[in-house]
Amino acid sequence: MNENEHDTTLNLKCKLGMKSILPIFRCLNSLERNIEKCKIFTRSDKCKVVIQFFYRHGIKRTHNICFQESQPLQVIFDKNVCTNTLMIQPRLLADAIVLFTSSQEEVTLAVTPLNFCLKSSNEESMDLSNAVYSEMFVGSDDFDFFQIGMDTEITFCFKELKGILTFSEATHAPISIYFDFPGKPLALSIDDMLVEANFILATLADEPSRASSPQSLCLSQKQKRSDLIKKKAGKNATGQTLECISRKAAPRRIYPKETLTNISALENCGDPGMKRANGDISEVSESSVSNTEEVPGSLCLRKFSCMFFGAVSSDQQEHFNHPFDSLARASDSEEDMNNGSFSLS
């Protein structure tokens, strides 16, 4: 619910510090027991989000948190056209990954039409002669849905996966995994009654020298990490949504030289170094760069993830003041295009 002095609902995109929010909602038990109502609204005149807890006996606790406006970014990724789709209870996957030593940065997922295997990233274990190489097979029977179009091996950031699984265990829905070939992003999706979350992770490209799906994501070349938010495709079910949802164009396959899906993104909660493109751009041609770093010999995986929450309640709301938010392009992409080359490793 967004209010401003004119009492019209605005579509506010902002970011809040996690350190500010977490302590407010810390003691879940005591919150559930003592609080009758919680009200969250914004005071855009003061750039604050106000969270009010109404306790018994007329006691009211108010928290004012400053927010920062953020320029939304777009993510070009359509999970529905991915070759490989899996669905599994997060608990099962969490049990599988617990065996990996915590020092590992990356993990490799290898699938065949019959098998699912998580294993230590080859690149890492080769470097450290002391590292344990682990493999964990999960039978296809353990999955709620198991569709593999082609044998694939992708490598991505382990820490992100652990975090996502921890988060998803709080919901009771299975987690869906969508992915394609190495280099193309991997999407992890949770669709609960109350929450839909999409996490998009970069994967390590096979050969750093070749362009791997340059269209997959708009990404600044300079940044190591960016968090982008993907808009949820028009969820008609119910939605007084906190964030806007709209898909203006039909989803397309993510390949070079094709037009993008127009998905206006919600929020950028990441790297301040990220440069945002100005103006409305509804098409992006060869813009994004590969996920791998161009520093030779570097194993640094450019990681980013993207998460969207849509709250679900009884009123439907579809007010958008800015349906087309600016499309973020790789800051150097224009120069790259001018130079006629991608800067890739």
């Binding site: 002391n130 190489y133 964990m136 039978g139």
Partner: protein, 280 residues
Amino acid sequence: MKFRAKIVDGACLNHFTRISNMIAKLAKTCTLRISPDKLNFILCDKLANGGVSMWCELEQENFFSEFQMEGFSAENNEIYLELTSENLSRALKTAQNARALKIKLTNKHFPCLTVSVELFSMSNSSRIATHDIPIKVIPRKLWKDLQEPMVPDPDVSIYLPVLKTMKSVVEKMKNISSHLVIEANLDGELNLKIETELVCVTTHFKDLGNPPLASESTSQDRNPEHMAEVHIDIRKLLQFLAGQQVNPTKALCNIVTNKMVHFDLLHEDVSLQYFIPALS
């Protein structure tokens, strides 16, 4: 050289995991010696270890349902491997409720001890996890340094009090001093003493009991109340005590005055000997 072994019994697996955890706490890197009847975890008294040495022995048939090994040669039918103890204990941790555990010596890219765990899973398909733990094969000429340490004739031999109690005492003492004196007598008394300029702290343990001494003559000569003492580094003692998560079946301590203290523990059927030298 070949080695393959399998554990299918849940209790044996848990016990083996506990032993491995203990070793991981006692020694960062250790030597695993595989022989036809036994497995040994060895830490030899190099300067790098601070002079501490450890000898842990278990009978393989108490753990493994299958055990095959082929050592260096027919005359020297043993295998000595060096590994990072934590790698093994972490791999075993995943085998907590496993159907079966297999360990074998492999050579993928580099020599490894491959631990393969077959887990129960909800559906019919079984879940298999494999860990390749890198190891170094220790050459034959270095084997002589890794033999069972000689246990010298102790001046006093005494049963230890509850290790958890000892550990909490030593933990607090560590904040005050880095040297500790262990002394004990043949009357069942053990003292832990620390001394600084400002303060002396002694913890007394009584009625501990003494095992029968090897040689009767020495026990008759000595006054049973006479204390045999040794000064040791408190951190080494603490490391030893911290490794004992479970109270052992038997625990005794042998003191050789001003030379060393030797701890002899028995965890069910696994024996652990730990030697801490005296501070010079």
